[in-house]
């Protein structure tokens, strides 16, 4: 059983720290957080060409993380692979002992750095969960038997501030039906919104990691000008605290803020764990953990 699954099952409030696969093969930056923080975090999240920007393969990065002695959480989008590739990568992950998988649709190609690439989406995130469950049960999506089945701990994404909420709840219901072990939220800065969402969701057996993020100066400025266009909001007090500082200062203050949010989420039991996005920078991650008292 993966450490993440064990921590979630045991109510140990796992902390998953997101690292950044490089655009290139220089691994120093990506792996730096492992040496510094491995004892303090349960797993390291590995984005899959995040924001549709081409990076080193998440599957390869997950293996590298594992070889370095840490536990990876492999993010897998439906954007870049058809069902053959998704399944074969899932089998590859299984064979390498990579259990934690987060299924996502994936940001559209036109938002990234290869805007003329063919968007695939042969499966959606619900169907990807079904595919993974099928592999675990010993068959592929064509119904053909496998020689040896992988074991996964399967995650999916939810958006606490979705507007409208009802179509999102339909998707969550389908993800639950497809067989999800845990959810990870979109970044959250406004804990009142998280409280409301939890109430709306009702009691769930499935575990849920809230995402705390170190915001960039750019998005803080956008929020200050009413131009922030994300699936999460920055409340006025956050904007007031961070706006107007130089970019480095915003990151440092943002890390302290993310740490405070983490602590409050844990103390109030607003989630079963957290997923931290700190630009993949070890010094920011350390600052988040320090501010959280972790």
């Amino acid at each position: 059983m993966s450490k993440l699954k064990e921590a979630l099952a045991g109510g140990k409030f796992p902390i998953v720290m997101e690292i950044n696969p490089p655009k290139g093969v220089d691994l120093k930056g990506m792996l730096a957080p492992l040496q510094g923080l491995n004892g303090q975090v349960t797993a390291f999240g590995i984005p899959d060409n995040e924001h549709a920007k081409m990076k080193l393969s998440a599957l390869a990065a997950a293996r590298l993380v594992q070889e370095a002695g840490a536990e990876p959480l492999l993010l897998m989008t439906c954007r870049d692979r058809n069902r053959l590739a998704l399944e074969s990568d899932l089998l590859g992950a299984g064979a390498l002992g990579l259990e934690n998988i987060l299924a996502l649709s994936g940001d559209f190609v036109s938002l990234g750095d290869h805007p003329d690439a063919k968007p695939v989406y042969d499966a959606d995130s619900v169907q990807l969960l079904q595919i993974a469950r099928g592999l675990m049960a010993g068959h592929d999506s064509a119904g053909l038997p496998l020689k040896g089945s992988p074991q996964f701990c399967l995650g999916a994404v939810l958006i606490p501030e979705a507007d409208p909420m009802a179509p999102q709840l339909l998707k969550i219901k389908k993800k639950l039906e497809a067989g999800v072990d845990f959810f990870i939220s979109a970044p959250i800065f406004d804990l009142e919104k998280l409280r409301q969402f939890k109430k709306l969701l009702g009691p769930q057996e499935v575990k849920f990691l809230a995402c705390v993020k170190v915001p960039k100066a750019e998005e803080v400025e956008q929020a200050a000008q009413g131009q922030h266009r994300k699936v999460y909001s920055l409340p006025p007090e956050v904007v007031q605290e961070l706006a107007g500082n130089d970019p480095e200062e915003v990151l440092l203050k943002g890390a302290a803020l993310a740490g405070r949010l983490l602590r409050q989420i844990r103390e109030e039991k607003l989630a079963d764990g957290v997923y931290v996005k700190a630009k993949g920078k070890v010094e920011l991650m350390a600052k988040v953990l320090e501010a959280a008292g972790a």
Partner: protein, 226 residues
């Protein structure tokens, strides 16, 4: 109908530059309606070519003809004879028409004047929007008459992605999220039950190109027994 846009003039002009006598063949159906390749547009293109070639001091002959439909042999067959007096042909049909024309016996080299864009509708004069990906498996009965494969850029079958913001699409914020629209429509009609079940993976095998459809009444004629 099929929507198309005319290629930049320079691209068309350069393609037929080696040929002295060029026939511009229009299509009177979809591309005429979307103001890209009907009789009027053929006239305009022919005039542009004549003018451009005249400026270059090149003697040239540019002919014009528009047929009802270039995707129908009945209308294009006579062109095999018409083209005898020309060195090359520019077709202002969609890609289907261009190919059908190019395959005629005795046909001269054929060059497209249009970029075929999509199957769409005429929203208002000169304003066309896509509605159908011709995917061989219509979901519209389940999704309130809004196509998840076409109207959602990701073609998702089981609900919205996480990227929509206040019901607007992550890919184009000026456009509504297709799944938010599907949900609202079915909710308003009390038919949300239609989208509760998980839809399976789409059968792309059916849409392997090039596609063929034989009407049931003609299966015997074409030896396509079921």
């Amino acid at each position: 109908m099929i929507i198309a846009e005319r290629k930049p003039f320079a691209e068309i002009k350069d393609a037929v530059a080696p040929y002295e006598k060029v026939l511009v063949v229009g299509c009177g159906t979809c591309v005429a309606v979307c103001l890209a390749g009907g009789e009027k547009e053929v006239g305009l293109l022919a005039s542009q070519l004549k003018l451009a070639r005249g400026q270059n001091g090149k003697a040239s002959q540019i002919g014009e003809i528009t047929v009802e439909r270039q995707c129908d042999l009945e209308f294009i067959r006579p062109l095999s004879e018409t083209v005898a007096a020309y060195d090359a042909v520019i077709s202002t049909a969609c890609g289907a028409g261009v190919q059908f024309l190019a395959a005629l016996p005795e046909m001269k080299p054929v060059f497209p004047a249009l970029n075929t864009t999509f199957i769409g509708v005429n929203e208002e004069a000169g304003f066309y929007t896509e509605r159908c990906r011709a995917c061989h498996q219509c979901y519209l009965g389940l999704t309130g008459g809004i196509c998840p494969r076409t109207m959602c850029p990701k073609g998702l079958l089981n609900g919205p992605c996480g990227g929509n913001i206040r019901g607007k699409c992550e890919v184009n914020p000026d456009r509504a999220c297709a799944w938010c629209e599907i949900y609202a429509k079915l909710e308003g009609e009390g038919r949300l039950g239609l989208i509760e079940a998980i839809l399976p993976l789409h059968a792309h095998g059916r849409s392997t190109t090039p596609g063929t459809v034989i009407h049931p009444a003609y299966k015997r004629r074409y030896g396509a027994h079921e």
